[in-house]
Subunit: 219 residues, 2 copies
């Protein structure tokens, strides 16, 4: 696999889409595809696809197009989806449980292996959810020192993240999948944070309804 | 509330952040704030904040700053968070249930009122989850005709969305909160879609671990 530095975030963010589309093509038994055909399925242009994939060394062959299985394998390896990086989940409530099932219960490799979930609720501590133990949040520091999780998934309110983030950072964690609203990157600029802001997304939808409806009434 | 047309998506996407930060300020008992102080808390610049809020008519007063409660109320009303738009959820699995709790179980207004959840699993049909009935997916068309949900939340795999989307669109639904990977906006460009792509976000995190770690090993 060829590697390049300075790949733009917009290219990186498109990689998972390539991965999904190629996975679907493979499942439909399609063995090769032109950049034009792939572009039309993905809602991109052929030249954008060629440019994107050139960042990683190309993979296409003129007049033949892309070998779907090979390209899928390359992108899978670029993403590191099979790596199984050790991770822990903070919060074993509804969202935490749903996300944990998503990561380890679907049978699809997601790049991570969930070692444990942590919660403060006595009802949840020392239970097991879908094969993953739920531990006491008070033991998180010791657990991190002993197990060196690569990533932490935060499915708790922002106040909880605020209280825990220094401990997690001090234990060496630099990768966060953050469902809380606490701005980790503002406090620790060297942390890599993927935020999932459910409420922002929902409120944006709400805004559109409010304003489309208003303008319909106005006219 | 002053209204302006042609407000850019980046301004609209910042509104929920203003809402959250102002909510927090209110809870901390802060009654007024300068654009500079708000900017520093939000990681923006004061001039960006003034520009953003000017899109909706200003709200600030020179030498005084912003009245927190008033600004919060204005942004709440711009977003329509109190409207309680009727909505339905497709998929009552782990993710659907977690999202339903998020919408109607937290006590916070989220802009929507969840009328029902739909699933195909006989184990779930005709149960009730957190006060929301789980109905048979086969009855969705009739339900939509009778209840005119404004928005549909899709917590199912992309294949399910592909099968249902025409029915939902034909029933008049134009607003979608889409956790599946089916590209609704490509098929129906006039639909308003907020996508939450959990796997893309997680794979992006995975990419960063894979590549940061690789470069560390290389050096």
């Amino acid at each position: 696999m060829a590697k390049r530095d300075n790949i733009s975030m917009s290219v990186i963010r498109r990689l998972p889409r390539y991965y999904r589309f190629l996975d679907e093509l493979l499942r439909s038994g399609i063995v090769r595809i032109s950049s034009g055909e792939l572009a039309s399925r993905m809602g991109l242009t052929a030249s954008q696809i060629r440019q994107d994939l050139n960042c990683f060394g190309g993979f296409g062959q003129q007049g033949y197009g892309y070998d779907v299985a090979k390209l899928f394998g390359e992108i899978k390896s670029i993403l590191g989806v099979d790596e199984g990086y050790p991770a822990i989940m903070i919060g074993a409530g509804n969202l935490g449980r749903a996300v944990s099932i998503y990561i380890s219960g679907s049978g699809k490799p997601r790049g991570f292996q969930l070692l444990a979930m942590f919660d403060k609720s006595p009802k949840l501590i020392n239970t097991c959810y879908n094969g993953v133990p739920v531990l006491n949040i008070d033991d998180i520091e010791q657990f991190c020192r002993e197990n060196s999780p690569k990533a932490v998934f935060l499915c708790i309110p922002s106040e909880g993240t605020k209280q825990l983030i220094d401990t997690l950072y001090d234990c060496g964690v630099r990768y966060f999948w953050n469902f809380s609203h606490f701005d980790i990157a503002m406090k620790y600029p060297d942390a890599v944070v993927e935020n999932v802001h459910l409420s922002d997304s929902l409120m944006t939808l709400c805004y559109h309804i409010t304003h489309t409806d208003t303008s319909e009434t106005d006219s």
